[in-house]
Symmetry: C2
Subunit: 212 residues, 2 copies
């Protein structure tokens, strides 16, 4: 049965691929799983039918027969566990790839989300200009550590995995800030992710929705 995911009827980023459905689309494309998309409006996201699928009223969700999942990390992991292509076969390498998924979502993304707070939620506040450099410095600290670990490898731990998919997706949020340019190896890492045919297809699919 073809799974169905949800995505923004109109993404706040206008199709830059930063909405989280792109991460799930990318995973689906990597494993070669066709999928359907149900678009939801901002209003519908806060209504009972959608809240039954996603308690926090967000996208994406994932429905496959009578299984309903929310949270991008969980959906990507679910796909990675059931199809070849996103996790190594070796149990230890697999556990390490999953470490990178969590690192992307719980160590690298939170300081980056603060940048969204500064720019969007608190963009009109008097402290924003003075606060921005502090937020950027906290992100730089993480990028420095990530860059040190990546070294001159193509991916974080051996072959491309769901850990890289998630890390590249999180780093893509930084493109507009220019911060990635300060770390050439991370910039190249992100570009390698974007160059993957599966990412290209995922990006094009979300762009098509947002440029109808």
């Amino acid at each position: 049965m073809t799974p169905t995911i949800t995505a923004f009827e109109r993404s706040p980023d206008g199709g830059k691929g930063l909405a989280r459905d792109t991460r799930v689309r990318w995973a689906l494309e990597e494993v070669g799983q066709p999928y359907e998309v149900r678009l939801v409006s901002f209003q519908a996201m806060k209504e009972p039918a959608h809240l039954a699928l996603h308690p926090f009223g967000q996208i994406p969700t994932y429905e496959e027969s009578d299984l309903a999942l929310f949270e991008t990390g969980s959906i990507v992991l679910h796909l990675a566990e059931r199809h070849a292509g996103l996790l190594p076969g070796d149990a230890k390498a697999r556990a390490r790839a999953i470490s990178w998924m969590f690192a992307a979502l719980n160590t690298v993304e939170p300081p980056i989300l603060e940048l969204m707070t500064v720019r969007i939620l608190e963009g009109d506040r008097p402290w924003t200009r003075e606060r921005l450099p502090l937020v950027l410095d906290r992100i730089r600290e993480r990028l420095k550590q990530l860059s040190a670990r990546l070294g001159d490898s193509d991916w974080l731990d051996g072959a491309f995995s769901a850990g890289d998919l998630m890390m590249v997706s999180v780093l893509l949020r930084l493109r507009a800030s220019g911060l990635l340019n300060e770390f050439p190896s991370l910039s190249a890492y992100v570009a390698r992710g974007e160059a993957r045919p599966a990412y290209q297809r995922a990006f094009a699919a979300q762009l098509a929705v947002n440029t109808r």
Copy 2:
């Protein structure tokens, strides 16, 4: 072989159980897996030997024979997959419990981490007093949604799972703020987590380190 985790030689919270090793200790206690602890100083955490285990220079890490993992979420998931007690047997219920783990770490914890930013990293900044209510309101929004989903259930999805372990651990960070008291069902949920014998043992073990 007995696994070894790392923890702060001296936790910044002085033993309140908020350092992330408590989450891993709790999981180990739930599944009945004995473990050893290696304490690391703030200085040692930034040195090459520890960075080889944890690229972001944090605790906890997990070593078991020749497998080394970092990131609390990944360690807890690893334990939950290899022992009974933290994930349901049914594949669908299992995937849903994992959704709650990711929800705790990537949807509920990030706004709570901003509270730490306000209180600690930016505690002395001129905007802190005016900014605090905005940060608290964003956390309230998540708590409202979580509380609506929990309803009058004991746990988030059927029996206690790694999803609850992680969500309770994340919510515990809010105790000092008083925010939990605004949501009696969440307050009771957290208390149910804390009342579990496995949590009690984990808490006592980290407290013993911090009150030597």
